[in-house]
Subunit: 196 residues, 2 copies
């Protein structure tokens, strides 16, 4: 039996508690004391892993990117060996809050957006994530075009349209304006329009 | 000279201070004390008009709807006597953060979104605004179809696509991923696609 505390596991438990608080109550509610209460540990214990609220929130922002990235990769792997357009569809649907995990992430992501607007470093994290995903979509659209799956369109521009559409739909699903099935149907409608 | 304090004007000055705080620092930063400081009045003075932080935020949410509604109407009036599709374009561009006022509103709107997710009443305010605007776009798309300006498409579905697209683009402009000119070009690209 290991006699030392598993640092990574403890940190992970505290991060999970932070996640629950942020998703249910927004980032406003995240404090060292509130997260300690949620995790069932002392505030001192939380401070052992995260020196300040800002450190806790930075860690959460990194976790969010990893979670979204993981979901995108999983959906795209599940879509293989489909067509390039099938991969684009898998990627875009991974950005919608279609299950509890994705819904939690979308809530936390929305909470981070307003924080990112006032924080250059966090905004750059956000933007570099957006650029990566835009590049991935544009690359697959170019492959779809080369495979004759796509009308003679500009892959970069169509990637911008599709990602903005997915972003707007994600907000709509989160608010309950649109359900998940309808949101995917709207994406499919737009994807269908790109075919020659 | 009036000897009584102009209640509406004082309330308006406090609301303007609230707006500046919310846009610059997010709703997290909004408190009776912070807004009083920004307005250059005492906290007691603020409490004279708004009994609690929640009342202040509810007032701000109503103001936000009025401001967006006013901007949409102004843009649509300026687009007249254009075509129905020209009106749709005016309405959609009014939703993008293309000037300082619209940018401020978009920041405050983003801050409210996460609050709305945890507050059924505020979420319903949000949703009813979205339904109104969706109805306005769908109605004009139907008129465009009847005028032969539009391919044989479902106006309700295309309204959903266009509004989700505008919502995603607004976030992108806010984050600095896309500039306003490029965002309008993306909207025009999608509108162009609807023509027969």
């Amino acid at each position: 039996m290991p006699r030392v505390v598993d640092h990574g596991q403890r940190r992970g438990e505290i991060a999970a508690a932070l996640w629950r608080v942020a998703a249910a109550e927004g980032l406003e509610a995240v404090s060292l004391a509130r997260v300690a209460q949620e995790a069932g540990v002392s505030k001192g214990r939380v401070q052992h892993y995260f020196a300040s609220r800002d450190e806790l929130l930075d860690f959460a922002a990194q976790q969010l990117q990893l979670r979204v990235d993981g979901r995108v990769r999983a959906r795209m792997a599940a879509a293989a060996p489909s067509s390039p357009l099938g991969e684009v569809r898998a990627l875009l649907t991974a950005l919608l809050p279609l299950d509890d995990d994705a819904r939690t992430d979308a809530r936390v992501g929305s909470a981070f957006l307003i924080r990112a607007l006032g924080d250059e470093r966090l905004r750059e994290t956000y933007r570099s994530g957006d650029r990566l995903i835009h590049g991935a979509v544009a690359e697959r659209l170019a492959a779809a075009r080369d495979a004759g799956e796509l009308a003679g369109l500009d892959p970069g521009r169509e990637a911008t349209v599709l990602l903005a559409l997915a972003g707007g739909l994600a907000e709509s699903v989160l608010l309950g304006d649109t359900d998940g099935v309808a949101a995917v149907a709207v994406l499919d409608h737009q994807l269908g329009r790109l075919r020659p």
